[in-house]
């Protein structure tokens, strides 16, 4: 109980890590529901890794003497965010384009994942001095983030949440029945574009906050846990978001009290929530489902 009071206190030393994890836990599943419904779960594996490669590329540029935006830790962070956004956005455009070509989409996503993972390590070799900091970023350690950057990140996540609920009906329509959307005169390209822009931004910022592994987990596990209980898109999004946020909080608490690495603990807690959800569903009388 004392530990719980300690970590929720505003003066708690790791409050950025705590609030960052919880916010990401609440927001990323709002995007993840569309990954699950559009059957793009593999994108959820590949894109956080691509984002990590983008961060690594930004550090490589600094190691090669490229000084743009790189003044102090905050500058390094901004450059890393830029690298992450460019790589993630580029990968989304590439995957969307390739999807229209047919073929074996899973194979392409798998290749992208392998390439991104390799590049993230290779780029790191060009900046040995920044390796420790980069590893910290990739693991999602945001202890050193400035107050200003932290609030900017929170504001972006709030904007993402508002957009996800405000345009939920458009995102659902173009995901569920594209032909219907066209007959109603709605632009599938515009709404897909906006959704993917939000996806790119969420993943890029999320990877900087909690690392690629946790982002993949938040994109997939909370929506999976929420799906059997949802009655409509709003309830689906809300339940998934609650599962993600509460997994992040509980994961942080366990990690702090037992001195365990944060990311893996959060993923394990989220998986427990999924198992609990599936077990409850299985135990429910068939009629009540």
């Amino acid at each position: 109980m004392t530990d719980l009071l300690k970590i929720i206190s505003p003066s708690f030393l790791l409050h950025h890590a705590l609030y960052g994890s919880i916010v990401v836990g609440f927001v990323v599943p709002l995007v993840g529901v569309y990954f699950l419904l559009r059957r793009l779960v593999f994108w959820g594996v590949a894109l956080p890794e691509v984002s990590a490669a983008g961060i690594s590329a930004a550090f490589m540029l600094q190691g090669l003497g490229f000084t743009f935006m790189a003044g102090g830790e905050s500058g390094e962070r901004h450059l890393a965010i830029l690298g992450s956004i460019i790589f993630t956005g580029g990968a989304i455009i590439l995957l969307t384009y390739m999807e229209q070509k047919g073929g074996v989409p899973e194979g392409r996503v798998g290749t992208l994942y392998a390439l991104a993972a390799a590049l993230a390590i290779l780029f790191m070799a060009f900046n040995p001095g920044g390796e420790a900091e980069l590893l910290g970023l990739l693991k999602g350690e945001i202890v050193t983030i400035s107050e200003g950057d932290f609030h900017a990140m929170l504001n972006i996540f709030i904007a993402i949440t508002i957009a996800m609920f405000l345009f939920q009906r458009e995102f659902t329509l173009v995901s569920y029945d594209r032909d219907m959307a066209v007959t109603l005169g709605r632009s599938v390209l515009v709404w897909d574009g906006l959704l993917y822009l939000i996806v790119g931004l969420t993943i890029s910022l999320g990877v900087m906050t909690v690392g690629p592994m946790v982002i993949f987990a938040f994109l997939v596990i909370p929506p999976m846990a929420a799906l059997p209980w949802a009655r409509g898109m709003a309830s689906f999004s809300l339940i998934a978001s609650f599962c993600g946020g509460s997994s992040a909080f509980l994961g942080f608490y366990i990690s702090y009290t037992h001195d365990l690495p944060l990311g893996p603990v959060i993923v394990c807690v989220a998986a427990c929530v999924l198992i609990l959800s599936s077990a409850l569903r299985w135990l429910m009388p068939r009629k009540a489902r």
């Binding site: 059957r39 659902t172 569920y176 032909d179 007959t183 799906l227 949802a230 409509g232």
Partner: protein, 238 residues
């Protein structure tokens, strides 16, 4: 006589410049109930997608008129199997999609929807009691009713039904045919129904378009469904 809602004149229809249907002369007059018939793979879907604006014509003329940016207001009922059952949408949400024509941001922020219209559409299709149920949990016939309600919620000038009776039991087929008759008689809707067979729905058609051999041949239902015509069509298929 008023101008038709849609008209193809010597048009070629297909995908990526590969024509599936050529020399298409076909029109949809207001108030008509048109059956688009033909075997699987004959090109019915190509004709349907072109007139809905999902794919462009390759060659020839395609004119349309209507109240939605010069196009008719479509009420589209796709084949129910085309919609992914993973979505946890309620029947009400599916029907509500028919009203998603505009952004209506202010209306949305004020919490105003099209509740009356959606409920009326569901009721008209005998699906109001299904509102809170998950769409994916419904039977084939119930799903079809909800999809028709969704099309009606779009307040259509032209209702387009893609194989609405496929995979549905005879009792539900009878109920749906009664519903179509009601929409035709009471609401004076222009209806276009795609089918790969000619059974009980034939009495509803005022005009019929046969799709096959890369061509579209249309005319009054009596003439196009006459014994002689059917013999000719099925002989050419054989």
């Amino acid at each position: 006589m008023s101008e038709p809602l849609l008209r193809f004149k010597n048009a070629s229809l297909g995908y990526a410049r590969r024509a599936v249907l050529t020399g298409v002369d076909f029109q949809v007059d207001e108030g008509a109930f048109i059956g688009i018939l033909g075997h699987n793979g004959a090109g019915k879907s190509t004709l349907l997608k072109t007139l809905l604006g999902l794919i462009p014509t390759i060659k020839g003329e395609f004119h349309c008129r209507g109240s939605h940016f010069g196009r008719p207001r479509y009420g589209y009922v796709p084949q129910k199997e085309k919609l992914d059952a993973i979505y946890p949408l309620t029947s009400y949400e599916v029907a509500a999609m028919g009203t998603y024509r505009g952004l209506e941001l202010m209306r949305r922020l004020r919490g105003l929807g099209h509740r009356d219209l959606i409920r009326r559409s569901l009721k008209e299709c005998g699906a109001l009691e299904l509102s809170d149920k998950r769409y994916s949990d419904l039977s084939g016939g119930q799903r079809q009713r909800v999809l028709i309600a969704r099309a009606l919620a779009a307040e259509p000038q032209l209702l387009v039904l893609d194989e609405p009776l496929a995979g549905i039991d005879v009792t539900t087929q009878t109920a749906l045919l009664k519903l179509f008759e009601h929409l035709k008689m009471q609401k004076a809707l222009t209806i276009l129904m795609v089918s790969h067979r000619i059974q009980r729905e034939r009495d509803l058609f005022t005009r019929v378009a046969w799709v096959g051999d890369g061509k579209v041949e249309s005319g009054p239902a009596d003439e196009m469904l006459s014994e002689g015509k059917l013999m000719k069509i099925f002989e050419s298929e054989l």
